[in-house]
C-alpha cells in the first residue's frame, strides 16, 4: 500500500513540476518577426550535438510573456529559459548563471553594458543576455510623401514638423491619420525625454510628472483631438493594454509611424514592394532627439530543475558566432560587444529598405539622452509606463483633463511603489 501511495505521490509530483526530468529544457519564446524560426533552427543544431538535452521551444504570443509568465514566476513555476522584455522588474526570478558558465569574463566583456538591465539592483549576477538591442524610432512612408509632393523632414526636424508634414501627406493622400504611435508608455518615453522629461528623482525613486512629460503628453492629446494622430490605437482600449499600430503603417493608413527597430523585419516582410519606406530616427524636442533603448533578453529562470543544462544552452546561444548569425537572420541589432566591434554584419535580406533602416537606427542610437539611457535598468520604469498610457488615453477619450491626468499618474506610481514595499 505504501509503495502504491509512494508511486502515486511521485507521479503527481512529476506532473506538477515544470521540468522534472533531467535534461529537459523548456524555453518560452515570443516573436515580433522571423526570430522564432531562426532560433528553432539554431536550437535544432544544438540538439544534434547535445542529444542528452531535450529542448522544448514554446512559441507564445507577447501577451503571454507579459501577462502569464509573471504569474507563473510568482508561483515559483515557469519555463527554464524565457525571452522577456520586462527584464528589470522581474529580475528576482532570474537564474544567476555566474557559477554555472565556464567563462564569466566572456559574458562581462561582451554583454557587460546590458547586464545591469536584467539583474536586481546591487547584484553582480549574470542572468542572461539581450537577444537584441532595440531603439524606438520613426518610420516614414516615402512613397506617400513623394506622391503628396511633400519633402521628408530633415534629421533635426522636431515632432511638430514631422506631424505637420505628415498631416499634409495625410490630407493629400486621404489616409486615416498623419501619424500613429504604439499604445505603450515605453514608446512615448523617448519623446518625453526629448522634451526634457526625467522620470528618476535624485534618490533613484520615481520623480513627479515634470514639464517634459507634460509637454509631449499635451501634444499627443492635441494631435488625437485634431485627428492628426490615429485615435483608435490609443483610445480604443483601457488600462495599460499594449497596442501596436504597425498594421496601419503597413496598410498605408498613416505616412508616419513611431515604433522601434524591432519592426524592421516585420515591415520588410509585410510591405515588400508595395511602397518605399525609411527609418528616420526619433524626431526632436526641446532637449534633444532621443529614442529609448531596450530590447528582449533571454534569461534563465531560477526555478529550473536543470540549471546546468540551462547554462549549457545559454552558453551556446550567447556564442559570438551564434549571436552574429541570429542578428543577421532576424535583422536585429546585436547586443554582443565583440559582434558590434568587428562589424561586417551580413544582413539576410534582399529588401533594399532594410540596410538603410538598420543603419539609421544605429546612427540614432548615438543621440539618446542620459535620462533615456537610465530607464532600461530602472526598477520603476514599468510603473511609470503603465500610468502614462492609462491616464493619457483617458484624456484623449475626453474623460479627464490633462491636469487631473498628471495628478493621477503621480498617485498611480506612488501606489505601485507603496505596493511593492
Amino acid at each position: 500500500m505504501k509503495t502504491r501511495l509512494g508511486l502515486i505521490g511521485a507521479l503527481t509530483a512529476s506532473l506538477m513540476a515544470t521540468s522534472a526530468f533531467a535534461g529537459d529544457v523548456r524555453i518560452m519564446w515570443y516573436s515580433d518577426g522571423v526570430e522564432g524560426d531562426v532560433i528553432k533552427d539554431i536550437l535544432d543544431r544544438f540538439q544534434k550535438d547535445n542529444p542528452d538535452i531535450k529542448i522544448t521551444l514554446d512559441n507564445v504570443s507577447y501577451k503571454v510573456v507579459q501577462e502569464q509568465l509573471p504569474i507563473q514566476l510568482e508561483a515559483g513555476q515557469g519555463p527554464d529559459i524565457a525571452r522577456v522584455t520586462n527584464i528589470k522588474e522581474l529580475a528576482n526570478h532570474w537564474l544567476d548563471l555566474r557559477p554555472l558558465v565556464s567563462d564569466a569574463k566572456y559574458w562581462e566583456d561582451n554583454f557587460g553594458a546590458t547586464l545591469d538591465w536584467m539583474r536586481p539592483d546591487g547584484s553582480d549576477a549574470i542572468t542572461g543576455f539581450m537577444t537584441q538591442l532595440t531603439l524606438t524610432g520613426g518610420f516614414a512612408n516615402k512613397t506617400l510623401f513623394e506622391q503628396a509632393g511633400v519633402d521628408l523632414p530633415g534629421e533635426t526636424a522636431t515632432w511638430d514638423e514631422w506631424v505637420e508634414a505628415s498631416d499634409k501627406v495625410a490630407k493629400s493622400q486621404s489616409t486615416a491619420a498623419a501619424i500613429a504611435i504604439d499604445r505603450s508608455g515605453h514608446r512615448i518615453s523617448g519623446p518625453n525625454v526629448s522634451y526634457g522629461a526625467n522620470y528618476i528623482a535624485a534618490d533613484g525613486m520615481p520623480a513627479k510628472v515634470d514639464d517634459g512629460v507634460k509637454a509631449f503628453g499635451a501634444k499627443l492629446v492635441q494631435w488625437v483631438g485634431e485627428g492628426k494622430m490615429l485615435k483608435e490605437t490609443w483610445v480604443a482600449a483601457a488600462g495599460s493594454t499594449y497596442r501596436a499600430a504597425a498594421d496601419d503603417f503597413i496598410n498605408a493608413q498613416v505616412p508616419f509611424y513611431y515604433s522601434g527597430s524591432w519592426q524592421v523585419a516585420n515591415l520588410s516582410a509585410k510591405i515588400g514592394d508595395n511602397f518605399d519606406w525609411v527609418a528616420v530616427g526619433s524626431p526632436c524636442g526641446t532637449a534633444g532627439c532621443s529614442g529609448l533603448k531596450g530590447g528582449a533578453a533571454l534569461v534563465g529562470i531560477k526555478y529550473t530543475k536543470n540549471a546546468a543544462d540551462v547554462a549549457k544552452v545559454m552558453e551556446y546561444l550567447s556564442r559570438e558566432d551564434i549571436v552574429k548569425e541570429f542578428s543577421e537572420r532576424t535583422l536585429f541589432l546585436p547586443a554582443h560587444k565583440g559582434v558590434v566591434d568587428k562589424g561586417g554584419m551580413n544582413w539576410a535580406s534582399q529588401d533594399k529598405h532594410v540596410g538603410p533602416a538598420l543603419d539609421a537606427f544605429v546612427k540614432s542610437a548615438g543621440q539618446t539622452l542620459p535620462a533615456s539611457d537610465a530607464l532600461p535598468a530602472w526598477k520603476w520604469a514599468s510603473a511609470y509606463y503603465g500610468a502614462l498610457v492609462t491616464r493619457i488615453s483617458q484624456v484623449m477619450a475626453g474623460e479627464m483633463t490633462l491636469d487631473s491626468a498628471w495628478a493621477r499618474i503621480d498617485q498611480d506610481v506612488a501606489d505601485k511603489v507603496a505596493q511593492a514595499k
Partner: protein, 340 residues
C-alpha cells in the same frame, strides 16, 4: 431472437455482477453507519462527495480570495504576502462622492462600477424586451418557425471571443458597417472610438449574443400557457394588446422573473465579448468590473492581486444579493404553486 435475449441477459448479468459484489461489500458498513448516525447521517454520507467538490472548487477559493483581499504585494503565495487588514477595501471605498468616480482614490474601480450599473440597467431591459418580442413572434405559426428558432439561438453557441471578433470586424474604422455606409454616401462613424457608440455597441452585441438563451426560456413559458384562454379571449373579442397584458404577461411572469435574475447576474459578470470588442475603451467607457479585476490582478505591468481580490469580493457580494433574490422568488413561486 431468443438467443439474442439470452446473450443480452448474460452480458447484463456479467456487468451487474461487480455492482452486486460492491453492494455486498459496502452493505454492512453502511448499515452500521445508519445504525450509528440515523437517517441524517446517511444523507450526510451521500451528500459528502458533492460537498467535497463544492468545498474544494468553490468554498476554498472563496476563502482564499478573501484572505488575499486582506494582503498586499505581488507575491503569489499567501504566506509571502503582507497582511494589511481592510486597507484594500478602504482604498476601493475611499471616495468624495460615490456618484463622482473622479473624486475616488481608486477612480478606475468606480468608473467600472458606474459603467457596470448602466450596462446592467440598459442591457437587461433591452435584452428582456427583445427576447420577449422574439419569443412572441417565434410562438406564432410563422413560415419556417424551426429555422428561425435555430437562427436566433445560434449566437448562444458561439464563443464570446468569436462574438467579440465578429462584431469588431463589423464595427471597426474600416469595418463592414462603415464600408457599407460609405457605399451609400454616409460618413463613417467611430463606432468603437466614440464613448457613446462604444457603450451602445457593447450593449447591442451583448444582447445579440445572449438573447437566444432567454428567448428559449420565454418561449417555453409561452407554450405552457393553455390555448383555451386565448380562444376564450378571442371569442369575447378582446383586443390583442389586452390579451397580452391580461393573459400572456401575468402567466409568463415566473419565467420573466427567472430571465430577469439570470440576465442580471450575467450582465454584472460581463467581460469577454466586450473586452475583445472594445478593450474597455475609449478611455474607460466600457471598462466593467470584471475587466477591472482582471487588469489589476493579472494584466497590468505591476499587478495588485490584493486589490483585485477585494474588488472581486465586493462584486461577489452583489451577485450573492441577486442570487438570494432569485431564490426568494423561486420559493415564493413554489409556495404559490402549492396553494393553487
Amino acid at each position: 431472437m431468443t438467443e439474442r435475449l439470452s446473450t443480452g441477459s448474460k452480458v447484463g448479468a456479467a456487468l451487474a455482477a461487480p455492482v452486486g459484489w460492491l453492494a455486498t461489500i459496502i452493505d454492512a458498513p453502511l448499515k452500521l453507519w445508519q445504525r450509528l448516525t440515523g437517517l441524517g447521517g446517511m444523507a450526510a454520507f451521500f451528500l459528502a462527495p458533492n460537498m467535497l467538490i463544492f468545498g474544494v472548487f468553490v468554498l476554498a477559493p472563496f476563502v482564499i480570495n478573501f484572505f488575499y483581499s486582506t494582503t498586499s504585494g505581488a507575491a503569489f503565495f499567501l504566506a509571502d504576502r503582507t497582511y494589511v487588514g481592510a486597507a484594500q477595501y478602504s482604498r476601493l471605498l475611499d471616495c468624495g462622492s460615490y456618484l463622482d468616480p473622479s473624486s475616488c482614490r481608486e477612480d478606475l474601480f468606480w468608473n467600472a462600477v458606474h459603467n457596470t450599473f448602466w450596462f446592467v440597467t440598459l442591457q437587461v431591459a433591452l435584452l428582456i424586451v427583445v427576447s420577449m418580442i422574439t419569443a412572441l413572434i417565434l410562438n406564432r405559426e410563422i413560415v419556417g418557425r424551426s429555422f428561425w428558432r435555430a437562427v436566433f439561438f445560434f449566437p448562444v453557441l458561439l464563443s464570446p471571443v468569436v462574438v467579440g471578433l465578429i462584431w469588431k470586424w463589423i464595427l471597426q474604422r474600416q469595418g463592414l458597417l462603415n464600408s457599407v455606409a460609405l457605399q451609400f454616401g454616409f460618413e463613417p462613424t467611430e463606432w468603437l472610438t466614440d464613448r457613446f457608440w462604444a457603450f451602445a455597441a457593447s450593449i447591442t452585441v451583448s444582447v445579440w449574443a445572449h438573447m437566444g438563451f432567454f428567448t428559449l426560456i420565454l418561449l417555453a413559458g409561452l407554450q405552457a400557457i393553455p390555448r383555451d384562454l386565448y380562444e376564450a379571449a378571442e371569442m369575447d373579442g378582446t383586443k390583442p394588446g389586452r390579451v397580452f397584458w391580461r393573459i400572456t404577461l401575468p402567466l409568463l411572469m415566473p419565467n420573466l422573473l427567472v430571465v430577469l435574475i439570470l440576465a442580471l447576474i450575467r450582465a454584472v459578470q460581463i467581460f469577454d465579448e466586450v473586452y475583445v470588442l472594445t478593450g474597455g475603451g475609449p478611455g474607460t467607457s466600457t471598462l466593467f468590473i470584471t475587466q477591472y479585476i482582471y487588469e489589476v490582478g493579472f494584466a497590468s505591468l505591476l499587478r495588485n492581486p490584493g486589490l483585485a481580490a477585494a474588488a472581486s469580493i465586493l462584486m461577489g457580494a452583489v451577485l450573492v444579493v441577486l442570487t438570494l433574490i432569485q431564490l426568494q422568488i423561486g420559493r415564493r413561486g413554489e409556495k404559490k404553486g402549492a396553494r393553487e
